[in-house]
């Protein structure tokens, strides 16, 4: 069993997670040594099935774990070369690392605009700067401008996702941890959201670490990918390389290898071909 080897530190790494272990409620071991790095200004995808530990990894980084009685028991997390294992979520947001949680989590009774404004909670600049950023967010998400006075709870799933991302942008982040942006959205909307993520990455220089089940889309937009399974990184590499990988094709992209006859054959293949065995 070979651990995913810690990659040599790149010249400019915004986030590096090395060998972290996460335990919930003091008993449930969820992550068993996860390591990954995010180069500054890139989009990195964290892939894997349900329960593989994607969300836990993101929450370990943003330190939202503690609110769910989870804790990082081993390993270290560095953001811009600084250990952040014990920073509170609000410290992290101030440092420029913010998470957009799975399932949007908008403030339902607040209007879209108020939602966006809460994103600027940690900022101390005057109103003018915040107004400017509000305009910036509306430029990226023109739909939100139209819905600015609607209660977020009554907007559509796509609009809520946009609100959640826009809200994170309002904190002027260097890095966004984006959890499952495609969840419950129509394929067209998923494309739209990912296009905006790409634009934000290119124009604002925001780095993204995104957890996705939709491997196909994620690998098209990301530069690098890590595949998690049962709390371990089992494979990682350039997105283009991952997309060519036979196992990834078989397990995540649904493009069968040659000679696949039936579901049983797939199961047999999977059993034979355990990751890293």
């Amino acid at each position: 069993m070979s651990e995913a080897a810690p990659r040599p530190a790149e010249a400019d790494t915004i986030l590096s997670v090395s060998n972290i272990e996460v335990i919930y409620n003091h008993v449930i071991l969820v992550l068993k040594g996860v390591s990954l790095t995010v180069p500054r200004g890139s989009i990195v995808a964290l892939l894997g099935a349900n329960g593989a530990g994607k969300t836990t990894t993101l929450k370990a980084i943003s330190n939202l774990l503690r609110a769910e009685r989870g804790e990082v028991t081993k390993g270290s997390i560095l953001f811009e070369g600084e250990r952040i294992d014990s920073s509170s979520p609000s410290d992290l947001v101030r440092k420029g690392c913010i998470q957009v949680m799975e399932g949007r989590h908008c403030f339902g009774h607040l209007t879209v605009e108020e939602n966006l404004l809460t994103g600027a909670f940690t900022r101390r600049e005057g109103n003018a700067a915040i107004r400017d950023d509000l305009d910036m967010v509306y430029d990226y998400f023109p739909r939100l401008r139209q819905r600015r006075t609607s209660q977020a709870g009554y907007t559509s799933g796509g609009e809520q996702q946009m609100t959640a991302i826009g809200r994170a942008l309002m904190s002027r982040p260097k890095m966004i941890l984006l959890d499952e942006p495609s969840m419950g959205l129509a394929p067209q909307l998923v494309e739209e959201i990912f296009e905006i993520v790409k634009k934000l990455n290119e124009e604002q220089g925001v780095s993204f670490l995104l957890a996705e089940q939709n491997t196909n889309v994620a690998l098209r937009y990301a530069r690098h990918g890590f595949i998690l399974e049962s709390g371990r990184v089992v494979l990682d590499g350039e997105a283009t390389a991952l997309r060519q990988n036979e196992d990834v094709k078989e397990f995540y992209l649904g493009v069968g290898g040659e000679g696949r006859r039936s579901f049983r054959a797939v199961k047999h293949y999977k059993r034979r071909k355990r990751w890293l065995s």
Partner: protein, 333 residues
């Protein structure tokens, strides 16, 4: 206007003003419940404690006087000064903020993510602790609040209303307590400023955000601990206002803490999560109580006032458990 109409008007007016007093207490509950999902059993005792502190500070009582005297055999009671009302109120506010901060640091912080029932138990503990602590600090005797708030019936209003009665009838004018009028004005100012605060300030927005989804609030960098201190401070402030108004009415003493019980039916009626609900609920209970006492009371031997509110609350629980203004749950899949 006929005498019967005048009587009804008087009863309703007094009911409205009593309702405002109930609403003041209920407001404290709603604030804390909205922001943290905690039903704060100690709200009534907080009102008592705030009123005790206010009186103690204003009249220059020595804190822990009994304790000090018992240990050192001294006999000290007062510093011998009287603070201006304004200063005493400010100092009391500081005490309530310190209290909120201490409660967060010593108790709430350690109970993050616990079941609501555990937090509820913590507030029960707090209630009894605060009651005893208040006694220890300021003594258990009944005190009078003297902030210069006018009280007693208004003769002017009596004279005005006497004119309204038909010529020759045996009517002596309406009784309205000036204190109630002041309480009404204070309550209106208080609620308006709270609403403006929640609606238009950065901190107010954060409070509402936490009330909606505390996880998401955490994720955008809102510190729950700060929010809790702020909310408990505001609740302390509301408790102070309620304590002063009720204390001026009936003296500052232990039974002041029981006004919390009066707030329960108001909360059930108005909904636990709605500030307007607390106000309207309070008004309905206040008016309902007085009207029932006046018209039905004599038929059944009186004293309806004490339990009428609870009957109304029960009926409401059957038909509208979330209360009149309880938050509609917005759910989208």
């Amino acid at each position: 206007m006929s005498v019967a109409m005048l009587n009804l008007t008087e009863v309703v007016l007094n009911g409205l003003m009593a309702g405002i007093m109930y609403a003041l207490v209920a407001l404290g509950f709603v604030l804390i419940f909205k922001a943290s999902g905690i039903f704060n059993f100690a709200q009534g005792v907080m009102a008592l404690f705030a009123a005790l502190t206010l009186v103690g500070l204003q009249t220059g009582q020595v804190p822990f006087a009994h304790l000090i005297n018992a240990i050192f055999g001294t006999n000290i009671h007062h510093f011998g000064w009287t603070l201006p009302a304004f200063l005493a109120v400010i100092l009391t506010l500081c005490v309530m903020v310190a209290f909120a901060w201490a409660f967060e640091a010593l108790v709430l912080k350690h109970l993050v993510n616990q079941e609501p029932i555990i937090l509820f138990m913590a507030t029960i503990g707090l209630a009894y602790f605060l009651e005893g602590f208040g006694d220890l600090l300021w003594g258990a005797d009944i005190k009078a609040i003297n902030l210069g708030i006018p009280s007693g019936g208004s003769f002017w209003w009596e004279d005005v209303t006497r004119e309204w009665a038909p010529e020759g009838s045996d009517y002596w004018g309406m009784y309205i307590d000036k204190l109630d009028v002041v309480a009404t004005v204070v309550a209106i100012v208080l609620v308006t400023s709270l609403t403006l605060f929640a609606q238009y300030t950065r901190m107010g927005r954060a409070l509402r955000a936490v009330a909606d989804d505390h996880q998401a609030a955490l994720s955008v960098g809102i510190s729950l601990r700060t929010i809790w201190v702020v909310v408990w401070s505001i609740a302390g402030f509301v408790a102070l206002v309620a304590g002063v108004m009720w204390g001026a009415k009936s003296g500052v003493q232990f039974s002041l803490s029981l006004i919390a019980l009066k707030a329960l039916p108001v909360l059930i009626l108005g909904g636990f999560t709605s500030i307007p609900g607390a106000i309207v609920g309070g008004l309905i209970i206040g008016v309902g109580e007085k009207v029932a006492e006046f018209y039905i009371g004599p038929l059944v031997g009186g004293a309806i006032e004490n339990w009428f509110a609870y009957v109304v609350a029960l009926v409401f629980l059957l038909f509208r458990p979330q209360g009149l203004f309880g938050e509609r749950i917005i759910e989208r899949v």
